[in-house]
Amino acid sequence: MSTETIKTSLPVLTAKDFASDQEIRWCPRCGDYSILAQMKKVLPTLGIPREKFVFVSGIGCSSRFPYYMNTYGFHSIHGRAPAIASGVKVSSPELQVWVITGDGDALSIGGNHLMHMLRRNMGLKVILFNNRIYGLTKGQYSPTSPVGKVTYSTPVGSIDNPLSPLCYAIGSEATFVARSVDVDIKHLTFVLERAAHHQGTAFVEVYQDCNIFNHEAFLYASDKTIKADHILYLEHGKPLVFGKDVKKGIRLNGMHPEIVEVGKGINEDDLLFHDEKAAEPSLAFLLSRMRHPEFPEPMGIFREVDAPIYDQRVTEQIDAEIKKKGPGDFDALFNSGDTWTVE
């Protein structure tokens, strides 16, 4: 954030200050409600004045999000939110810009923009609501729907090979990659906070239940009675353990992860340890490839590394050029090159 912000005496904000006066139009019990609630909780803790937040979204159920936040907001067009947010951020680096998108919006129609937004590493915060379905258009399969998924547009099952948002993000050189679950309130709050504090682009996938068109797609990751065996909470510098009694762990066998029982001759030191700061994204990628039901799906911060930040570099180049050439002089510009005078 700019030094200007730090100097100011900030008004004390609460979640309420971030609620707009608009009636929320998501279906009752939609996972979006929880994400909205956690966001409203996190923002007042950041020490940033409310007017400096901008929420940019594309098209889809999740993209209604900005209407419900009492910040600056731009509900834009399908897939283009990363590009619109890039325009906001490059031109006004002092703003904290969040991108709200969905699996169809970000990975299908907007796949190209997402990749380039990630590799440029602007200070954007991206929340991808993954419900593995097109909800707003009433139930077609999305780029994250599993093979075999029966929808209105795949009456005999999808034959599209799905992709993992996190694999995509890591492959696109994202410097912050994380995952959480809509109803896992504490964890989601933690992840959103970490994303907000990351200096470059932060990419967060949230498993989100569409209770109308794809209900319980993530039951394995959200149901308190079973999730311990199906998800794994990542902690920096700690071994990868999971399970009801935290007796199971992930060990590397050559290049491949395998599930092992801790105890029977295997102790924690034999397990794979998480390193979110690893310069190379190999570990983060390996973790992003661990899919249910073969593996527990990791939750938390997969990767957080420092890298040059695009919007700051733009400003630095301008400053350097002004220092080198002096501030632009229009009359000197107009009179540059070969000139001649007509009497």
């Binding site: 200007e4 100097k7 100011t8 005496s9 900030l10 008004p11 608009q22 004045p49 409310r50 007017e51 400096k52 901008v54 098209i59 900005p66 209407y67 936040m69 009492n70 910040t71 600056y72 907001g73 731009f74 509900h75 834009s76 067009i77 283009r80 990363p82 590009a83 619109i84 947010a85 890039s86 325009g87 906001v88 951020k89 490059v90 031109s91 006004s92 703003l95 190209n112 923009h113 990749m115 733009v314 180049q317 301008i318 002004i322 080198k324 002096g326 501030p327 632009g328 229009f330 009359d331 510009l333 107009f334 009179n335 090159g337 070969d338 000139t339 001649w340 005078t341 007509v342 009497e343």
Partner: protein, 648 residues
């Protein structure tokens, strides 16, 4: 010492110096032959001398087509004159052809009796075959009888002149174009000094190459001076332009400078997002080199992203601009619609090229007018301005910015490949004399510790409401007298609001699908754009205010059409010319103007796009004159059409 000075010291052979009024020269050769460079140099020395100049570069679409082929021919035409000229000329007086392919593709434009200078050394069997000549055309009766042919062994002569510098043959031959330039400098009595300075600067790190080029320049000039083949050379006196200081400017350069100037005049940052595309890329290049003017450029991943980023930057309160050509404008259509719907100011430059689809990337056309008018879903009219020439790009793009910020709307700025790459003398303005552009942003709540809103020192609350304690909430769609909504920018405390592509309620801007509101909002947006007609100049006419024929043109055809109509008026014909720069909305007197003449002729480089609009809007039986060859109008073509129309 310049080549002409060098010659002055020598005894003069008996050579006549004849005065001529104006000359059209075309240099043509392989795309690797440096024809654009010599054309530009000739232009610069002629402009610096005080001639009026107009140029037409003609690039091949392929970067490097195989050497010697027809597809690889690159040309540069230049018209220089002792009087005011508006076009690069109809017919070529002097053609310099560096190889058979260049001769074949260009000789048709050389006037009967014109001067033809060829590099004879390149007319070997291989090159003749590549150009599709069965026999050497230089020996043909047709060429010999029709033109004054000069067969110059340029390659050999140049090698002799440059020998002994330790350069490879390839490097030596690279200066052939400069030899040709030197020869033509002699032929038209040009001062080579500016070119020598240019070469000294260009090759300051390569002294041998510099020496080779200087020698080539002198050798070409000496050849013209000493050979018996050239008996006469020509002088074109200075033109009587309006007093002032001049420089040469090309359209894309003028557009870029105009944009930076407009942002400064508005007291705001210029944000430019673009994606490389011919013939608009030069605008991106130019602006990217102007970082010390505070310009932020962003090369986006595609045309869509460039347009979307522009929407974001406009929301953030910047002078936001993108430029492209037809195929890119198609891709931008969706985000342009968003810009229209959210009523944010931004500029979309369309440097038109031959279409449809990929079409003719390096050739000119005026076929995007209807795309600009109608290329978005829903009722979404945008203001459209079209520059009439290279210099006009500077002036008119500032007007586009003014309209954008005053009316809170995207504005389309049309140029074309012809004026984008063509150059003309430009009277240098004083920055202090340019009109400021007024931008206002509503102020937010003055909460302690909050920073001030960016503005240009003239911010008022006139546009907004609800900015202090106890006042009503901010109303992002409450309009002013011009029907513009307030431009409240992120970072302003108390004005937090949401915009988007969904239909919104009048005044509050909340999402609203109700039938009457939609009707009202569509009309509001359309009426706002239509109302711009009350804030732009009336249409001017050259010639009688009524009569037999009105020639109505727009955009880059100005030069040819104005020259043609002036010729006809001089011959006593009842013709007038109206040249449109405001394409949407039209100037408010245009409907009356078109009804004051018995006939209306609309010359366009398309199938009749303006004509369609004129007929639809004013119910006049406008006739078209349409040329779709990737080339601008020639003056005599327009004159002939005017004569035909008057007689019919």
């Amino acid at each position: 010492m310049s080549s002409t000075e060098a010659l002055a010291a020598q005894p003069q052979p008996d050579k006549k110096l004849e005065q001529v009024d104006s000359v059209v020269i075309r240099f043509c050769g392989d795309s690797g032959d440096g024809m654009q460079l010599v054309g530009t140099q000739f232009t610069n020395v002629s402009a610096a001398f005080g001639n009026d100049v107009s140029t037409l570069p003609d690039f091949p679409a392929e970067i490097r087509a195989p050497v010697g082929t027809l597809a690889g021919v690159s040309g540069f035409q230049l018209h220089f004159s002792s009087h005011d000229i508006f076009t690069p000329g109809d017919e070529v007086d002097t053609l310099v052809a560096m190889n058979p392919a260049a001769l074949k593709t260009n000789v048709g434009d050389l006037r009967r009796g014109g001067t033809l200078i060829v590099n004879e050394d390149e007319f070997d069997k291989g090159n003749l075959i590549k150009a599709g000549y069965a026999t050497n055309p230089l020996d043909s009766e047709e060429i010999i009888s029709k033109y004054t042919l000069h067969r110059v062994q340029m390659t050999r002569l140049n090698r002799d002149a440059v020998a002994g510098l330790g350069l490879s043959q390839k490097e030596v031959d690279r200066s052939r174009n400069i030899f040709a330039l030197g020869l033509v400098y002699w032929l038209y009595d040009r001062d080579a000094k500016p070119t020598e300075h240019f070469l000294q600067d260009k090759f300051k790190k390569k002294p041998e190459v510099l020496e080779a080029n200087l020698r080539a320049l002198r050798a070409g000039s000496n050849y013209g001076f000493s050979t018996e083949a050239f008996t006469t050379h020509y002088a074109v006196p200075r033109a009587k332009l309006a007093p002032g200081k001049y420089r040469k400017i090309a359209g894309n350069e003028a557009t870029a400078w105009g944009l930076v100037t407009a942002a400064k005049l508005a007291g705001k940052t210029l944000f430019y997002a673009g994606y490389p595309i011919t013939p608009a890329s030069d605008i991106l290049h130019q602006l990217s080199s102007m970082k010390n003017f505070g310009v932020k450029t962003f090369q986006a991943e595609d045309e869509i992203a460039a347009m979307a980023a522009v929407c974001g930057a406009a929301f953030a309160g910047k002078i936001a601009v993108t430029a492209s050509s037809g195929p890119g404008i198609c891709l931008k259509g969706e985000a342009m619609g968003l810009g229209f719907m959210t009523e944010l100011p931004m500029i979309i430059v369309d440097v038109q090229r031959g279409g449809p689809s990929t079409g003719l990337p390096t050739k000119t056309e005026q076929s995007d007018l209807l795309l600009a008018m109608f290329g978005r879903n829903g009722d979404s009219p945008l203001p459209i301005l079209a520059a009439s020439g290279p210099g006009d790009c500077f002036t008119l793009v500032q007007e586009a910015v003014r309209i954008a910020v005053e009316f809170m709307t995207p504005v389309i700025f049309l140029t074309d490949g012809y004026i984008a790459n063509g150059a003309e003398p430009w009277r240098i303005p004083n920055f202090a004399d340019l009109q400021p552009i007024h931008v206002t942003h509503p102020h937010g709540k003055a909460t302690p510790g909050h920073f001030e809103t960016e503005d240009n020192g003239q911010a008022t609350n006139a546009n907004g409401s609800g900015n202090g304690e106890g006042e009503p909430e901010f109303l992002p769609y409450k309009r002013n007298e011009k029907m513009a909504r307030p431009w409240a920018i992120p970072g302003t405390p108390g004005l937090e609001h949401r915009i988007g592509g969904l239909e919104k309620a009048d005044i509050t801007g909340n999402v609203d699908y109700s039938p009457h509101n939609h009707h009202k909002m569509v009309m509001n947006r359309c009426n706002k754009v239509a109302g711009i007609a009350n804030h732009i100049p009336l249409q001017e006419i050259e010639g009688p205010a009524s009569g037999k024929l009105l020639v109505l043109s727009w955009g880059g055809t100005f030069g040819a059409v104005r020259t043609a109509v002036e010729n006809c008026i001089a011959q006593g014909k009842s013709v007038a010319h109206a040249h449109l720069r405001y394409m949407n909305p039209f100037p408010r007197n245009l409907g009356d103007i078109v009804k004051n003449y018995e006939k209306v002729l609309v010359p366009e480089l398309n199938t009749g796009q303006l004509r369609l609009l004129i007929r639809a809007k004013f119910l006049v039986d406008a006739q078209g004159f349409n040329k779709i060859q990737g080339k601008p109008f020639l003056v005599h073509e327009v004159v002939r059409k005017i004569d035909e129309t008057l007689e019919s």
